[in-house]
């Protein structure tokens, strides 16, 4: 039993993608892949320490009413856990210190950035240095995007990948940095494993290939350990060829490109954490 990879997806208060993220973890080989309502964590019945891989799924936490994931971040930081146990933010801090993996997709990425978990170039994990805000077009957009990867990035999720194709579905996906120095630090450390690109996988600032106007075409960032990773596109939405928008006209592999990210994560856990 101790050799099982255990993946957790936190659900509730407006997450929408928890089922398909859990399924992606399962398909990628995670023996345990559970979507658990945050009420279970706040009741103290489920603890992060029992898992290796924490997934923060897409959705609209609290309706994104105070800005994407803002109220959700506030909950993780301040909501009491029954019985006076460690707050969820503290549990997450320990989880990171234990060398475990966290991936945030879309609203989960927004949540990580606004809690300071990403990009955390200085690895302090509590200081927000970047944000995700309204798309330049001013609207929600559902569209598939080409993404260039960075082979020099420490990101364990994109290891060995050369360019992938995934859908974005968001209204607040424009990546913004606090200062030029922040961007420089991120770039220097290769903390940008994914950039919006044209069909030839060259990064672009042009709409709609870059659907939101993100600076430096940033679609996803990782922390310096490469174990924390967030991205606006949805890897869990492309785990099988029939999810590709052109599957009826192109020759595609059975497994979708998004699954690769989960496989890398599970393989890393099997090699390093079990």
């Amino acid at each position: 039993m101790s050799k099982q990879v255990r993946s957790l997806v936190i659900a509730g208060n407006g997450t929408n993608c928890e089922r398909e993220v859990a399924e992606a973890c399962r398909l990628a080989g995670s023996e345990v892949a559970e979507a658990v309502h945050v009420a279970e964590l706040l009741a103290g019945r489920v603890k992060l320490e029992d898992y290796h891989f924490l997934n923060l799924a897409g959705g609209f936490l609290d309706g994104d009413d105070l800005g994407s994931a803002k109220a959700g971040a506030n909950r993780l930081l301040h909501a009491p856990v029954a019985g006076g146990g460690a707050s969820l933010a503290e549990q997450i801090g320990q989880f990171i210190a234990d060398g475990k993996l966290i991936m945030g997709v879309c609203n989960g990425f927004q949540l990580m950035v606004k809690m300071g978990l990403l990009p955390a170039a200085e690895q302090n994990y509590q200081q927000q240095s970047c944000t995700l805000t309204h798309n330049d077009c001013g609207r929600f957009v559902d569209r598939w995007t080409y993404l260039q990867t960075d082979s020099a990035s420490p990101c364990i999720y994109t290891k060995g990948l050369e360019g992938i194709y995934l859908p974005v579905r968001h209204g607040e996906g424009k990546f913004v940095v606090e200062s030029a120095a922040t961007l420089q630090a991120i770039e220097d450390a290769h903390l940008v494993p994914l950039r919006y690109a044209d069909a030839g996988f060259n990064p672009t600032m042009d709409y709609p290939a870059n659907p939101n106007g993100s600076i430096a075409a940033i679609a996803g960032v990782c922390d310096p350990t490469g174990r924390l990773f967030g991205l606006m596109p949805h890897p869990e939405a492309y785990v099988h060829y029939t999810q590709h928008p052109r599957w009826t006209r192109e020759e595609l592999a059975e497994e979708g490109m998004g699954l690769w990210l989960y496989q890398n994560a599970i393989n890393y856990i099997r090699a390093n954490l079990l």
Partner: protein, 991 residues
């Protein structure tokens, strides 16, 4: 001491919202401002220390990377006019609710009663604008006076120290609860006056039925035992009016109709609903015998059919027209989240899997003067689209199918159809999940949101035309997150077996939901004073009929009550015990221990008198026009740019159509993901490739000739879209949503008998074609008062039926999309073409109506669709696209540009009636036709399969990217894909 927290963007951060507003002001009002910036304002009306306020301001309420924040001082500078828009008292403020929760987490203590956070938005306008123009701007565009209030200040008027004065939109709650008694022993005129004054929407006969009920000595004796006099209370009158409303009781569909056809033949129809809708399903189910796949029809919030041995699928389509006319955003948002509650609240509960949306609007480019109280169609368009966007996206439900129809008459009332499908296990804890039964002694539990004055009289209001006195309280704003939390909770409660029955609170609020559930046991006892309120001051009758959103009513047995309540508390969902289901035979409500309503259940549910409606059909003598010398190529481009045909991509992309990762055929398809799919394919289970297919048909333009054929064409259109992607024609169910103009003859509706005859004819076709296709009807809805009447102006919508279908594809990997795939593939046209341009998009473009409305041969069509299924199963088809608005030419143009290759076709080869004009060949809207492509090596297999169907090889897919259509040597059209696609994409690209 209330305070204001103002949040604005730092210098150099792009204000996308401000830019969008600036553009929209230019487009809507022709006002070119230099700059528009936006600020968010939170007004905190709560006991908080300065440190707590500061922590809230710098914590959850602002983003330190891009925003500045100020407490009790303005951030606004460098502007000409400032407009601040907030909500009126009592209007749902979702952001305020979230801010309040966030502050409670921060401080660790709950807000006291009456404490709240209110939100508003500041617009800083720079440019040539004065206060008067700003007033016009805000009332005509930025805000909706029904739900919002505003402050306008010039730069000189803004206090530089304190900013905009604090405004607290708290509901004034001074009224004491009071029950009024109504004396119904008055003149007929006075009875009608009571109905009008109370927004009861009851006619004289119905009022007189109430009068004689209240005078019945036996009734009076029972009332006395419970402390009530002979006079009905306002609570009782309201409960009766809701239950008897057209909206809830469908009195027109239940009426006795005396129908006379064009030759003077007369018949009496005792309920259209029972005769044609229930009748069709009954006859089809009998015919299907052991293959019957219907599980629950007409009796629940939605229809349920079999998916496989382990799962059942649920589908419901609703309309939310009247509220959307007044507040397009709130009305449409409420429409979709309300339909979600129907989908969830069917049987014991079902997980929501997808939404569908169909809208009918006037042109957003409408440029004539508008009658009073009507919003510009463009505002309706944008508000409705945004409302459904927020409702669907935030709820995590993909919007996978829909369309938009345009007709000038929809300026009088837009139609907003919202559909929701859900999936439930075939059995739950050993019982069929699609069934439920309240038990005597079960607790009446209300969960979710609280009750306010929102949505009072929604049911009766939508049972009338839009008029001067239409109430503003009828408008509600949905709250997807509160609802999402409730569903997350309820599905766990369902699986743990904690309740016996569930239904949603929609029209009529508690009065309808509890009343309907109590039919299982034959009585109820409900304590209205126990209901949780948003603010004090509601009258007992208001509590009973409020349509405040996000509420479900459940029947929870004694033994699981504690577990149910504990789970609710843990998951942050409010649940309240309002009383008991009984077998007393009475609908019994109390307030503070006093009986305020005591109605015989049978009278309440069965007492409404049947209406009697005359219907007389007449032929209007329509003529075919004579057209000649048309430029056919220009006509094709014109058609592609028609609002009813052009690309809706700008809307589709605003809807998340892929969340849940199960949308296998998406709304947009083709080589660059922008071709128009015919239908959607959805894979609901991770461990099976079985799929659900959904599609729809809607053809209001044919109603101007004959609603019989309008209905037939809508059914055929839905089915041919459905089979086009691979839906199984032998496992599909239909839903009918009628939207009519008032068909009851009266002073205000002198042509009622004709409109009623149109209704009868549509129903006859519904029966005839559903039976012929073997498609059972499982649910539906009607909205019968889609008229606008103020002063001398009356606008009636064209009779419109949305026919939606849901069914099955055995293997989603066999689905077929509409785009051509490879040069060299053969192009076939399936089905026969006739001179059927009557009511067509082509004639409309030419300013004509015509007479030859398309007619459906169901027998031939069914055979064709079955054969198409065989071809799809055998993998013979590379693409398949239906022919609808604009006919063959439009269909082929779409196939070509979606696929990125050309088509060359000779139209002399098609199966057609002899002597057809070029126009008819190209643009006729004859039904039951599809254009398919296949690899040349599959030609013989395909031709053998279709030997008994109308099928013709008409051309080939070409590498050259253009559409070339000819008749023999004579070329009719040669247009590049780029040209066609541009014409098709341009009209709504910027919306």
């Amino acid at each position: 001491m209330p305070c204001r927290i103002v949040v604005g963007l730092k210098d150099g951060v792009r204000d996308a919202r401000g830019e969008r507003v600036k553009n929209e002001i230019r487009q809507h009002l022709g006002l070119d401002l230099d700059r528009v910036r936006t600020l968010d304002v939170y007004t905190l009306d709560a006991e908080l220390s300065p440190a707590e306020i500061d922590a809230a301001a710098k914590g959850p309420l602002s983003d330190p990377v891009i925003q500045n924040v100020a407490v009790d001082r303005p951030l606004a500078e460098d502007f000409d006019v400032l407009i601040e828009v907030g909500f009126r008292p009592g209007v749902t403020d979702n952001i305020g609710r979230t801010a309040r929760e966030a502050i409670q987490y921060l401080t660790g203590r709950p807000f006291a009663a009456g404490e709240a956070v209110y939100t508003s938005v500041q617009y800083l306008l720079t440019g040539a604008i004065d206060k008067a123009a700003a007033e016009q701007l805000v009332s005509g565009f930025l805000a909706n006076g029904l739900i919002q209030r505003w402050t306008i200040l010039t730069r000189d008027e803004l206090d530089p120290a304190k900013g905009v004065p604090v405004c607290i939109p708290r509901v004034d709650a001074t009224a004491e609860p009071r029950v009024q008694k109504m004396d119904l022993n008055v003149t007929d005129d006075a009875l009608l006056q009571i109905s009008r004054d109370g927004m009861l929407a009851l006619n004289l006969e119905e009022m007189k039925t109430l009068q004689s009920y209240s005078n019945d000595p036996q009734v009076q004796a029972k009332r006395r035992e419970n402390g009530l006099g002979a006079e009905l209370t306002d609570v009782e009158l309201e409960a009766l009016a809701q239950t008897w409303s057209e909206h809830c009781k469908h009195k027109i569909f239940a009426a006795k109709i005396d129908y006379e056809d064009e030759s003077g033949n007369k018949e009496t129809i005792d309920s259209l609903f029972k005769t044609y809708i229930v009748g069709a399903t009954r006859d089809i189910r009998q015919g299907l015998g052991k293959d019957d796949f219907c599980l629950s029809v007409f009796k629940d919030n939605a229809g349920v059919i079999r998916f496989n041995d382990d799962w059942s699928m649920v589908f419901k389509v609703e309309t939310h027209n009247s509220p959307s006319a007044l507040d397009p955003y709130g009305g449409a948002l409420t429409g979709i989240v309300g339909c979600n509650r129907d989908g969830y609240g069917t049987g014991m509960g079902a997980r929501l899997i997808f939404n569908t949306d169909v809208f009918c609007f006037a042109s957003p480019f409408y440029d004539k003067p508008l009658p009073p109280r009507l919003l510009h169609p463009r505002r309706i368009f944008e508000g409705v689209v945004e409302g459904v966007e927020h409702g669907g996206n935030k709820s995590g439900i993909p919007t996978i199918n829909g369309s938009i129809q345009f007709d000038e008459r929809f300026a009088g009332k837009p139609l907003v159809y919202c559909g929701t499908a859900s999936i439930m296990p075939a059995t739950l804890n050993g019982q069929p999940c699609h069934e439920k039964q309240v038990q005597v002694g079960d607790h009446i539990i209300m969960t979710g949101g609280r009750i306010g004055k929102d949505g009072i009289h929604g049911a009766t209001f939508s049972s009338e035309e839009l008029h001067e006195g239409s109430p503003v309280t009828a408008v509600q704003i949905g709250d997807p997150i509160t609802q999402r939390r409730m569903f997350d909770f309820l599905i766990i409660a369902r699986d743990r077996g904690l309740y016996n029955s569930i239904t949603d609170n929609g029209a009529g609020g508690l009065s309808s939901s509890v009343g309907e559930m109590a039919e299982d046991t034959g009585g109820l006892e409900m304590h209205l004073d126990r209901a949780p309120l948003k603010y004090p001051g509601l009258q007992p009758w208001e509590i009973l009929i409020s349509e405040a959103q996000e509420r479900m009513t459940l029947a929870v047995p004694d033994e699981s009550l504690a577990a149910f309540m504990q789970l609710a508390a843990e998951m942050g969902v409010e649940a309240t015990d309002l009383g008991l289901f009984t077998d007393s035979g009475y609908y019994h409500c109390l307030y503070a221990g006093e009986t305020v309503c005591y109605l015989d259940m049978e009278f309440l549910h069965e007492g409404v008198p049947q209406m009697q409606i005359p219907a007389k059909w007449e032929l209007k003598g329509h003529q075919e026009p004579s057209l000649s010398g048309r430029d056919l190529q220009a006509d094709l481009l014109g058609l592609l740019g028609r609002l009813n045909i052009c690309s809706k991509e700008s809307v589709v992309r605003r809807y998340d159509h892929e969340v849940q990762a199960a949308t296998i055929v998406k709304p947009l398809t083709g080589v660059v993901n922008d071709g128009p799919s015919d239908a959607a394919v959805y894979r609901p289970l991770f461990d099976s490739f079985e799929g659900i297919v959904t599609a729809h048909g809607i053809c209001p333009s044919y109603s101007d000739i004959d609603t019989y054929h309008m209905m037939a064409c809508a059914i055929d259109e839905a089915l041919r879209n459905y089979v086009s992607v691979g839906g199984n024609i032998e496992h599909v169910a239909g839903l009918d949503n009628f939207c009519w103009c008032d068909p009851v003859e009266s002073e205000r509706t002198p042509d009622g008998a004709y409109k009623a005859a149109q209704l009868v004819r549509a129903n006859k076709a519904l029966y005839d074609y559903c039976v012929a296709f073997g498609v059972p009807l499982i649910s539906g809805k009607d909205s019968m008062k889609n008229d606008y009447q103020i002063g001398e102006t009356k606008i009636s919508i064209p009779p419109t039926v949305l026919f939606s279908v849901i069914g099955k594809i055995e293997d989603v990997r066999k689905a077929v999309t509409m785009d051509v795939k490879t040069p060299g593939d053969l192009v076939y046209l399936l089905g026969a073409t006739a001179d059927e341009l009557g009511g067509s998009e082509y004639y409309r473009m030419c300013g004509e109506l015509g007479a030859n409305v398309p007619q459906v041969d169901a027998k031939k069509a069914f055979k064709l669709y079955q054969t198409l299924n065989r071809a799809q199963e055998q993998g013979l088809l590379r693409s398949c696209h239906d022919l609808s608005d604009g006919g063959l030419a439009v269909s082929l143009a779409e196939k070509a540009f979606a696929g990125g290759f050309g088509i060359r076709a000779d139209l002399d080869n098609i199966v057609a009636e002899a002597g057809l004009s070029d126009e008819a060949l190209l643009f006729s809207e004859s039904q039951s036709r599809l254009a398919v492509t296949l690899k040349p090596e599959n030609r013989s297999a395909f031709e053998v399969l279709f030997a008994d169907c109308d099928s013709a090889l008409i051309g080939v897919v070409t590498a050259e990217t253009s559409l070339v259509l000819s008749r023999g040597d004579r070329q009719l059209i040669a247009a590049s894909n780029d040209q066609n696609k541009e014409a098709w994409q341009a009209p709504l690209r910027e919306l």
